[in-house]
Every structure is written in C-alpha cells, then in structure tokens.
C-alpha cells in the first residue's frame, strides 16, 4: 500500500513498470516491451534504416514512450520517476537496436541522462555498435543567448523525434539525420511556466513549492527553479511575455515559418491551453511571422503541476514536410501523412 493519498498508484516501487505495462497493453499495434523498462515498436523498421532511440525518467507521461511508433522513435529507454535510466539498461537497448545503418540517440540535456548516454555509447562503440548522439537544450530560462551546456532539454525533443523519425524512415543516413536535427535544434526554443505545486509519486515530496497566486516562468520539469517568480497575471499577458522572450532568443525574421506548440504539464486544462495558444499565435502574426505547424497537447507532463511549456521554432521547408506530411502511428503523436 502506498502512503501517497493523492494518486491512484499501488506500490511506489512498481510505478514505472506498471505504467509501461498498461501503456503497451493499450496500444499493442504500435508498441511493446523490449526488455525491462524498454519500449520498442511493435513492428520494427527495416534494419537498413537508422534507429532513433531516446532515454529519460518516467513520471512525464506520455513522454517519452508515447512517441515510439512508425515514423517516430524506435525505442525509448525509461528510468525511474524523474531519474535517468542507468547505463546498463541503455547499453542493453543499444545492443537490441544494433544495425549497420547505425543508431541515433536523442539525449535531453540533464546531467543524469547525459552521463548514462556517454557511458553507454562509449561501451557500445567498443563492441562495434555504431551510435551517435544528438543533444537537445531548448530551455531558454538560463538567459537569452546562454551557453548550450547551461540549457536544459525540455519538451522540444518531441517535435525533434518526429522530424528525425520521418527522415530516418525515408532512409536518411546517420550523418544526414544529425545535420537535419542540429539545424532544427539551433532554431528551437522552449520556455516553461508553472503555478501550482505537485508531489513526487514515490516519496510524496513536494516537487514545486509555489504559493497560491504566484507563477514562475522558467520552471524546469523536475521543479528546478527558473528564477522568475511573480504574481500570477492573465493568460494573454503570460503568453505575450513568453512569446517575447522566445523571439528574443530565436530572432525570427519577418515572413519566417514558425512552429508553435503549447504543452500542458498536467493540471492546466485544455481550455486554458487554447486561450494561451490564441494569444501566442496573434503575437507571432503581429510580428509578421507565419505559424506553419502548431499543436496544443499534453506531450510532456510534470505530474499534477499546473502550467505549460511554450515550444517555438523557426522551420525550414524540410522540417515542415517531416512534421506535417509524413506518417506517424506513435500513440501520442499520430500523423496521417500524405
């Protein structure tokens, strides 16, 4: 029995394996377990194509395993709640995905994930597994123009999975995929805002301690502060401030084609997310920017935290094509395709 009185769970130690088991049982046509806390496609892509693999802690559902499927991820390697999977499990997954075409490992910039990835890749290379990494660092809360090393990976990894997955399905080589992905990374920025606390599903600890009526812009997805606490303002004011910060980072030029995604992090309703999106869209339009790809969805959550992440990118034409026109059957990012 759990002591946690706010969540429907059983044994706190079993949260991760139980949630993954439920997930693959629900979507048997798209996903299955490939090992302990490893989710793979139910219908693997042919081995002459690069495999796209990612890693990260659980507790952020549907991220990251929700994006395993045709045209997106081949494999997600899952750690415990908010914790990176160890190098051992990642190494096991790399062995599972081994192929001549190689493996592209998408790593979100969090020290635990980076460390596990570096260890597993080092070992993999020594046993003849071809693997390269691509690191996401879309968070801009460390300051406009901050060094990439200081920028965390937030939900911007999800559209990157879509782009890489679609390009890999087309048969792009490992090096070509890295070029496509890094070009997207450079033009990608995310900012998070939180306004209510949530609890850790295993120890019941408070993850984000925000008093009522206070919001924090720049909040990380594990409750790491962003430094921008202030009294709550309206949806329009919040959206306008965030668009302004993201545009200062990305510096889009008039006529640029933009991606705009509003990701709910748990407790904020789709009603509110739609209202936020509306203002963000108008702000971009006023700047002479065209929203070429958009979405409002919970893609990466932080338990019952209230808030959202605004994910923005300047898109090249190939990125638009991969996002909009290529098929994906991942349970949480389905695209019909043309």
């Amino acid at each position: 029995m759990s002591d946690i009185k706010t969540k429907f769970i059983n044994n706190p130690e079993q949260v991760t394996p139980e949630l993954l088991e439920g997930y693959v049982l629900a979507y048997p046509d798209q996903v299955k377990l490939g090992g302990e806390n490893i989710v793979v496609r139910a219908n693997p892509k042919s081995e002459d194509k690069v495999a796209i693999v990612t890693l990260g802690g659980s507790g952020h559902e549907p991220a990251l395993s929700g994006f395993v499927g045709e045209g997106m991820l081949d494999c997600s390697v899952v750690g415990d709640i908010f914790a990176a999977p160890g190098a051992q499990r990642l190494f096991q997954a790399l062995q599972l995905m081994k192929r001549e075409a190689g493996i592209l490992l998408v790593v979100l910039n969090h020290s635990g994930d980076v460390m596990s990835a570096n260890m597993a890749c080092q070992l993999a290379e020594r046993v003849g597994i071809k693997v390269k990494q691509i690191l996401t660092h879309d968070d801009i809360s460390a300051g406009i123009g901050a060094n990439n090393d200081d920028r965390r990976g937030l939900a911007g990894c999800v559209p990157l999975y879509k782009i890489l997955g679609a390009a890999a399905e087309e048969g792009k080589s490992l090096d070509e995929l890295i070029e496509i992905g890094e070009r997207f990374n450079k033009q990608l920025a995310t900012l998070a805002v939180a306004m209510r606390s949530c609890t850790h599903p295993q120890n019941g600890g408070v993850i984000t301690d925000l008093p009522a009526g206070i919001m924090e812009i720049g909040m990380g997805q594990h409750g790491e502060g962003g430094g921008g606490q202030k009294p709550l303002v309206s949806a329009d004011e919040t959206a306008a401030e965030m668009v302004d910060l993201l545009c200062r980072q990305l510096q889009p030029k008039e006529g640029d084609k933009m991606m705009l995604i509003i990701n709910g992090v748990g407790a904020t309703t789709h009603m509110e997310l739609n209202i936020i999106f509306r203002k963000a869209y108008m702000e971009l339009k006023e700047r002479g920017l065209q929203v070429a790809f958009s979405r409002i969805q919970e893609i990466l959550t932080v338990q019952e935290q209230a808030g959202f992440q605004m994910i923005m990118a300047i898109l090249d034409d190939d990125h638009i094509d991969y996002l909009k026109n290529k098929r994906s059957d991942a349970p949480y990012w389905t695209t019909i395709g043309k």
Binding site: A84, G86, A87, Q88, F91, S111, G112, M115, S116, N118, M119, Q122, L123, R126
Partner: protein
C-alpha cells in the same frame, strides 16, 4: 623494478581502494563545498567495483577492459564514467601479463587520452584533471627505467596538481556557479585521483 606483473597491478589497485576508503569522508566534505557532497561514497563504490573485477583478471588487456565495462555498468555517475574511461583507455595500449617501463608509460597515456574524450575540463579548471594530467605527463616524461620511480614521479605531480587547486576558482560544470565559494578548498576529484596515484606508487 623493471617489469610490472598482473599481481603487482592488483596490489596497486587494492592499495588505492584502501587509502580512498580511509579518506572517504574528507572527499565528501570537499565535494559539499560546491557540489552534492557524495564524492567520497561515489569514488569508494566505483573503486570497489573496479577492484572486484580486477581480481578475476589474468591478462592486462582483458582485465582493464572488463574493469572499465563493469564500473560503468554497475555504478552510475560522473566518477564512475571517468574512472571507467581511464581504465578502458589503459586497456587500449597493453597486452600480455607483464609490462616494461615503456609499456607502463603508454598504458597511463592511453588512460588519459580516453578520459579527455569524455570531458572538456583541462588543467586549471579545478577538477580531477588537475591531478590526472600532471600525473600522466610526469609518468611519460620520467627518464627512469624503474617502474616504482616512474609512478612516484606521477604521484608527486598529482599531489602538487591537487594542492594547486586550493587557490583555483571552480570553472567547470555546475560547480562553476559557485565560483568564489570554491576558493580555499582542494577539488574533491583531484584529491581522490591523487590519492589513487600516491597509493599506486606506495604499493610497489
């Protein structure tokens, strides 16, 4: 001492683990100045895994390779990554069951080269590299043919390098954010790595 045998090397590793265990608390306290204060536990756990695997070794190359694999697969964290990288790199240049002075120098150089693939930190950044880089440089530059003397040169350089970190300002990774606060304390990683090099030399 003209040749280093597998058994000599195991004695060096055991001695390193013993000294590192004795100073576990000191390493954690140094780490707590700018980090999460777990370096003592991390280096003891990692060295324990390394020593356990080494006991099974019968030949340098496979033994060092297995030591690197096992520590990385069994222990998470940056300490394990860097130690694992060091021993994996050492395995790249060696063969057989006995090493002469030239082979010992090449082994340590291989270890450093592989660690440098894992971290961008260099001398002066107040990290374990302030012990490792001078140690390996001194080992390579030693004109002695005596392996104990070569390792003593490495140990001295590592200890000097660690002493120099006291006056440095942390300049790397998350520790950089604590900048000034780090001045006046030796780096925890440099301290534990120099402890290892000193124990290597002492064991022979």
């Amino acid at each position: 001492m003209k040749t280093l045998t597998i058994d000599n090397f195991k004695i060096m590793l055991n001695n390193a683990l013993r000294h590192i265990k004795e100073r576990e608390e000191e390493f954690s306290k140094l780490d707590a100045v700018i980090g999460d204060g777990d370096h003592g536990q991390a280096i003891v756990t990692a060295m324990s895994a390394i020593v356990a695997t080494a006991q099974k070794g019968t030949e340098f190359k496979a033994m060092l390779n297995d030591m690197g694999f096992d520590v990385m697969l069994q222990v998470s964290g940056s300490t394990s990554t860097l130690l694992g990288a060091f021993f994996l790199g050492m395995s790249d240049t060696v063969s057989g069951t006995e090493l002469d002075a030239v082979a010992v120098k090449a082994m340590f150089a291989g270890g450093l080269a592989n660690v440098q693939k894992q971290t961008k930190a260099g001398k002066g950044d107040k990290t374990m590299m302030d012990a490792l880089i001078p140690a390996v440089e001194a080992i390579e530059n030693s004109d002695s043919a005596d392996i104990k003397e070569i390792l003593e040169a490495g140990a001295k350089a590592a200890l000097d390098g660690t002493a120099a970190t006291v006056d440095m300002k942390a300049n790397f990774g998350r520790a950089r954010n604590y900048g000034e606060r780090s001045i006046g304390y030796a780096d925890s990683g440099a301290s534990s790595w120099s402890c290892m090099f000193a124990a290597f030399a002492e064991a022979l």
